[in-house]
Subunit: 340 residues, 4 copies
């Protein structure tokens, strides 16, 4: 069994604690927070697990093989680097770090030391995204023609990051997980609005130009009183529509669509009127699957599905989005795509 | 009663015929199409109305006070100009013309001759948009912070125009109708994709920078097997969500939202958790209201709610969108806003 | 071409007029209403069709081969009998007549004279019900285990009939059309409530015991401010769910369900977790298909799909429901099932 | 703090354990199951709480002030009686017991000994039902004209009880909680079907005649592949519609409806076309509120909101439903209404 300590007992920490405890291959050794009372509160009155406010103590503990980090993004470089240098495997909340440069340091260090560095891109471990990955990469959808994602809700206006950095990592990591290896982001454009003069965008639109010529687009929004979380992946053969708020049938596959002319001079399109299928999907909490993958990557000495490199690719696109936002919406090339 | 001839018996013509016949203030005199059989087919076997293939004949008919034009956009300049020069009032399908310059000629001619030139911006006459207009212009929603519109469906790939020119006029005319007079479009950016190399965008995203600093955004798409038609108007006091596919409760007003700091140094926001209200709305076909407004504008000698100037403002934004698309997504200034 | 006159220009008459006019095999000769102005209003200002207030005149007209009757139910016996005796084929709104005895007279007369007597059970001609009929009778759903129907809305409280006689004919005619020939209603029970003392039920529940042991149940309600129209047909192999208010995907077929023990001593059940399929369906107005069937039955000299006998079977069940309601909800045998 | 032991570590036990641990006024002392391994599994690897297979040991423990019983219904009499006789307060899963007579013994014993006997009617502690209770009992809905409930899903076919005893307790306890004191059930009728010959109904319809003349109806069904959980409370002034599967806006209040004649000779009704309001509701797990009420009832020495008497009233109606089912669907008087 792999001994794991949780670092950070804030919003997400309790979920890590609960899921590590429920994973047979992992053993929760301790929960660490600068605020000891908060660490204790996460564990509750009935726990045998140790609470501590000392990161040094945790990193010095030989029973700790790995850490799961849920501290603010600005601290990821420092905390994760300390853990890696202490020889611990690392699972870290998104985003990997505050900048591409910082993230790159973590990736390099982990690779040099042969340690697992894994991103908690939770959505990538949902049954829906795993099915979408199979459908897209297995060719069942055909060529991806567009991806459209809407992720809007009343959300906490973050003190230091805008809505793009808060919400778009979900969409970008899903995209990273689902697309075939030869379809990579080449440029990113973003439009945003800050209607109350808070100094950061609360509504934003992100367009990612893919190497195939297709476009992936995300609408992220902290101000919407209705919650919408929908992703459409339009393919040349089928189209997948994922409504994350539908607990019963979140995924729908449409056989209907447009039949494209194939290289002939006749440029007319025709329409297929086909069935819709909502496939049966396994149930289960995604974070449980994150933990199983973390344990397996450590045990088998291999990169996790959402390894540090995937976190870097997301950071590259976030930085390009910020640059585009500042430059009035032009497409900004992405410096580090999937193959970099 | 105002005598009206319908010009063009294609896709939209039958709707014009049916609604003119049902409007007491109008009298349908004739239906004209280059293809006489098509004009006859629209009228059916039981009609007393005359079918003709001669536009000259229609325009020479003293019983014809006005024409309703539903021919392809490329012919609007020629047909509408002939009608105006023959002294007929004109109701024309969107877009007003193929270019801003052409549209401007029509507006000028109509104004010089004191004739009604009205756009059939049908959506502006739905009970929902009329209520939205009251809510926004009456101040009940507060300041408009963002407008987000999604209009996607399997759609006919048009032979000569892209998806922006096909679908975005709906969103732009609604915006034109709903926004207060002092909030005008200042710049437009568009991203699009042509995944099958047909030479025109089939998926597009439009961002309109408003003079207030807010952003209005539309997603238009011919390739989606699911039909979505939703418009969100986020206001500082309330937010309106319009689902055009919900026949029972298309409009929802949310009292919940974000309370913004008002100019003080404290930049923290707070949240209101309030009720949602779906207001009761009158029923009725929007095109019936279009016809009533056309008749009233003619009778009262006044501009229609969706007059030629509103059609020009939409054209200005469409041209800017095309320019942005060609230039890689930068914001292109709009030359002719509401006040031009 | 079959000449048809419409008798009754009230709520439903305009739909008959419109659909007869659009059916190539039929020719609309006249519209008859005791109130001549109402007949004229249905035809409008542009029609070549004759309006009249004289039923005698219509029935004496040799150009009239058939009549479509949309008068109040209490007049069906008189009007339809007169038409049959004048040698006219008859299409009549549901219910066939006010009582089983009256309906039987009409059926007998039509059969004796070799005339088509057809019920306008419009729902039976929708693409959904036609598909359900194929699925059930073709065995794809397996044995029908239960049928559950909800048909509720704010509805006009009728002056002379209760909610069962107003709305349940829809459900009973659908059931009659969909079930296999060897599954017949054997008894009917009804519970109802008249919360405002109007002397007739405004909310009612109908249970139909089928010869197979399964139960079919309908909830009909004039007082519900939400509109629901859902029918579930639970089969031993698949289950069909029809939401008539979903314009896009009204029909869903569930592969998941319960696997039953088959005669062995082991009485344990297991569960299938399967996909849901929303089949593509043809579009088109059901009343158009009613008219095509009426024309075909006349031309081919055969009974219509929803012939007088089907109307009689519905009447038998309505009378049993009324008897059960009066007797406190016991099951009342149905005297005339499918084979009578 | 009140010391509580959980008896029964099956399906529901983990929820009790989790919620007792999260309730400050309660202290979880032990978890008891005949199968010790199951009790241990519920607690997990990190718990300080004791697992045991000895009920005697639990009841002899002076630190145990109360027990929460989640064993099969057939054992409720024995286990709860032992607990009461040992002087422990009791929270018990529904139904209170297997029969009215057994339930009555428990109620009497608890009352004689001054102990809290509370039913875990969890739904009664949801924010929606608490609001419905206020709306109905406070008069905002007007007189209750009908209640319609649908609770269908693929469900485990129980080895010893039918679908009525499995699911209808939810609807009956909600009804018991929501209705005013002077509106009581007077008779119950039930129709059911056992399409696979398992010896118990898998689909059932329940009609409850209320003392006001209104009817409450429930459709319960183990065989439906679609999950529906909807309750409509139709009032003379407003109607409430609760969709328990809508996590965002579960409750809708309709101002529109029928305006009834009030005692005059004119029996015509008219219609109100009003708004719909979805009220903002507090969030929170209902079982947490159950635990708070259990603690408060013990501390304050008062009956709980869902006390043993409420469990008895539900049992009375379940027994009447079974009798009606056996007798072919007649209404069976309820022997013990709210005031008995």
């Amino acid at each position: 069994m792999v001994g794991v300590a949780v670092i950070g007992a804030g919003y997400w920490g309790p979920n890590l604690v609960r899921n590590i405890q429920a994973t047979p291959q992992l053993r929760l050794t301790s929960v660490c927070d600068m605020n000891l009372a908060r660490a204790e509160a996460v564990l509750g009155r009935y726990s045998t697990v140790r609470a501590t406010s000392s990161l040094q103590e945790v990193l010095a503990d030989p029973e700790v093989d790995a850490v799961a980090i849920a501290t603010p993004a600005a601290t990821h470089l420092e905390v994760a680097m300390a853990a890696l240098e202490a020889g611990k495997h690392v699972l870290v909340e998104k985003p990997l770090a505050s900048s591409y440069v910082d993230g790159h340091k973590l990736v390099t260090t982990a690779e040099e030391r042969g340690l697992v560095l894994m991103l908690d891109h939770t959505f990538c471990y949902t049954p829906v995204v795993q099915r979408l990955r199979e459908l897209v990469r297995g060719g069942e959808l055909g060529d991806v023609q567009y991806v459209d994602s809407v992720r809007i809700n009343l959300g906490l206006v973050q003190p230091d990051i805008d809505v793009l950095w808060d919400l778009a990592p979900h969409d970008l990591s899903i995209l990273d997980s689902v697309l075939p290896d030869d379809v990579t982001p080449v440029a990113v454009a973003a439009h945003g609005s800050d209607p109350a003069g808070l100094g950061r965008a609360c509504v934003a639109y992100l367009s990612v130009q893919l190497s195939s010529g297709a476009i992936a687009h995300a609408h992220v929004n902290w101000l919407s009183p209705t919650k919408i979380r929908t992703t459409i992946i339009g393919g040349s053969r089928r189209t997948a529509v994922w409504n994350d708020l539908d607990p019963i049938q979140p995924l729908a596959l449409y056989d209907r669509g447009v039949d494209w002319p194939d290289g002939t001079e006749d440029r007319r399109v025709s329409y297929r009127i086909g069935d819709m299928v909502a496939p049966a999907l396994p149930t289960g909490e995604a974070l449980r699957a994150v933990m199983a993958e973390f344990a397996a990557a450590i045990t088998e000495g291999r990169p996790a599905l959402t390894d540090g490199r995937s976190g870097l690719r997301v950071l590259a696109q976030l930085e390009a989005a910020s640059a585009s936002l500042a430059a009035g919406g032009v497409f900004v090339p992405v410096e580090n795509g999937r193959t970099a």
